[in-house]
Homo-oligomer: 423 residues x 2
């Protein structure tokens, strides 16, 4: 396919962003979570917004059909936040459903049809037992050739991990570095599912063992802890428990408006200057498992539209559904050469105070991964970081102007990338 | 909500359209059906199209998740027609999923992002036993308040039907008229699931009874036949079997391009001059069951954008998932006053040779209703009729220039309306 320079018909900006707490909530369904995210979004708009001025809604959702038995979730979400009769469209691209909702809103505003559009995502996953969640997610693989052969997502990403290890010498320690970093960031995110660093988790387990008079573990550091099969069992080698994002309930919302009216809502809009989307074959058909073609193609489109390069990006939220996925993402985005993503993580380059902070929110790994909401959750983090509102996890001593979000569906069948600018 | 005049950033046209055979196919899955529709679409483009020039894909699908156990159907459909790595977005709005895919493509072209976009829809429903299909479709109702109270869609539309009967004196005979008309049209549609008029069905049952030496039925005409509970049992009073659209497998595709390049593909493009979409509360929350608010709002938007009125429309495909739905649709669209839709059907105004031909394809009732594909299937019929290519079911002796499609999700939670023009 010929590469084409794509431009939007007019500029687009975010003027509000909010999310529910991410976690496992017995007493909340997708409606409750959506209302929570929507209300926080409303409150985030500096100069206020009348909800009646919202003209259309995009809802990212992977499968409330399978998770909650509720199809046609769009108008229900819209009803619960008082937006009937506005048009509402559900977008689905597996775990990139949220990214597609954001892109849908961006395109709708760019088309001239609307000036003010809600982009949102929601998923309520914990109604089902864990094994059923794993099977439900496996429906996003190619069921004729992957799920039916026994593959689930930990297994599919394990195939990516082993390919990366074989080709580039990536090690389990590299994966652990990603997990440690993201839990460190997540410990500073009150909205995240896990609010603890691996060190804190280790210390609390140690303290509990002491309290109960049990034999004390011999962990000296986080790596010892993560190497202990008793606390970090292998799910699908080399993918272990702490390499996997959790099963999460959550929702997130951002308000997308035409650039020319953005300052009616805030003096600090965050402009969306690039959007890219692409697709790839199911994993079993690919020549090379160490890279996601859709991410490379979507990044190329987004960079070209924004007129920026990988090295210009100050901060990024990438799709770390598994730790290997973050490493591959940072390579696909051009932040690091192929095979160098693992080393970058090990050397602290992607840490919050590193040269290229990745997943300051804690990423899907620690913040949680309510699959249809994750893409919008990434936009919420970029919004907060670029506006200097990320509190204790704000990237320190840095004037952040350019951010990026990278949202992947399944093993890369779908990828949506957005580039954000504070001017 | 304030009514606003909405305009697309640039003009949009259809230059190709195709559909698979609609029906119940044991040996075909959604991939096969999609390929069939795509290939017919390609062949329909008068001056040809290189599939490599297609830049993006929208796929309407209600729930391959529940019907086939396949989530994330977008990239799989795209793969099977050779369109990887182009961006593919699944849209879902229950039975209006196809209409949302068409609207997504229209907006994407209008935004300036793409010039050539495939809008498509697909649903493979017959893998499940009928009772499970009914339950699966019920997931598109509000499961907290409707499905959980025992409602399925025949029941929900029976509530609409009884309300219409009570308020306007509509009768079961009116519903029968719609069924008879749509089967008559469908008998002329080789792509339809049923290729028989009610009269033909009646005659063949009569012939079979004779052959087998069984007691001969006493049917004098179609109404006798439809009043015979043995052949037309009540599903949910007053909705009987022949008032319900069938369970169908099928796919449909149209090619949407920027107006300025439309004549590169055909000398007879069909311009999309109006698009409207709206949402409504679930049925149990509504004050009035005899009209669908989303259809009225979407029609208003589409008419205003197109600069035309209801009386200007020459032909329409409307969402007759049940016969009552067609009557309500023709009222919501402003073709007839509230309560007059039934009489219009009875008087032949909506017949193929009437003043306002409705569902010349056979409608969902006779052509079939593969839910995610139906909205695109409607566009295929309008495309053929406006171009004079509908064969034996072509509206006779009429210069058709303006068409409309009306696609409803669930009981009207979603509605998407498009207005088409041949110039």
């Amino acid at each position: 396919m010929q590469t084409k320079m794509r431009k939007l018909g007019r500029g687009v900006a975010l003027v509000g962003a909010g999310m529910s707490k991410f976690g496992a909530f017995q007493d909340k369904d997708s409606r409750d979570l959506f209302v929570e995210a929507f209300q926080e979004m409303l409150h985030s708009v500096d100069k206020g917004v009348d909800p009646n001025d919202i003209e259309a809604i995009y809802v990212g959702n992977f499968s409330s059909d399978l998770f909650e038995g509720q199809g046609h979730i769009g108008p229900i979400m819209s009803d619960w936040v008082g937006l009937i009769p506005r048009p509402v469209t559900r977008t689905e691209g597996a775990c990139a459903s949220g990214g597609l909702a954001l892109r849908g809103a961006v395109i709708a505003v760019a088309s001239g049809l609307y000036d003010i559009v809600l982009a949102s995502g929601v998923e309520k996953m914990t109604n089902l037992p864990t094994a059923e969640v794993t099977d439900t997610l496996a429906a996003a693989s190619d069921i004729l050739y992957e799920a039916s052969a026994g593959f689930t997502f930990p297994g599919l990403y394990a195939a990516i991990a082993t390919a990366h290890m074989a080709k580039y010498g990536t090690t389990i320690e590299h994966f652990q570095r990603v997990s440690i970093k993201n839990h460190e960031n997540g410990a500073l995110n009150p909205k995240g599912q896990f609010n603890s660093s691996i060190r804190q988790i280790m210390d609390s387990r140690m303290a509990r063992a002491k309290e109960r008079g049990l034999p004390l573990p011999t962990w000296q550091d986080e790596f010892d802890f993560l190497n202990d099969e008793a606390v970090n069992p292998t799910v699908a080698w080399p993918v272990k428990l702490f390499d996997c994002s959790p099963i999460t309930d959550g929702a997130a919302c951002v308000l997308v408006v035409a650039q020319e009216i953005a300052r009616d809502f805030t003096d600090t809009p965050i402009y969306i200057i690039g959007t890219g989307q692409a697709a790839d074959y199911a994993l079993h058909q690919r020549q090379d498992l160490t890279s996601i073609g859709a991410a490379r193609a979507a990044a190329q489109e987004a960079y070209a539209m924004a007129g920026v390069k990988a090295e210009d990006i100050h901060i990024a939220e990438v799709h770390d559904c598994f730790t290997i996925a973050e490493i591959v993402a940072t390579e696909d985005l051009g932040f690091f050469e192929p095979g160098e993503g693992a080393r970058a993580a090990a050397e602290g380059i992607t840490a919050r105070d590193g040269a290229k902070p990745i997943n300051t929110s804690g990423g899907l790994k620690s913040k949680g991964h309510p699959v249809g909401a994750s893409g919008i959750g990434q936009a919420v983090e970029i919004w907060q970081q670029l506006r200097g509102q990320a509190g204790p996890r704000q990237v320190p001593n840095r004037n952040l102007a350019l951010g990026l979000s990278h949202n992947v569906g399944a093993t890369g069948g779908t990828c949506a990338i957005h580039i954000y600018e504070r001017r």
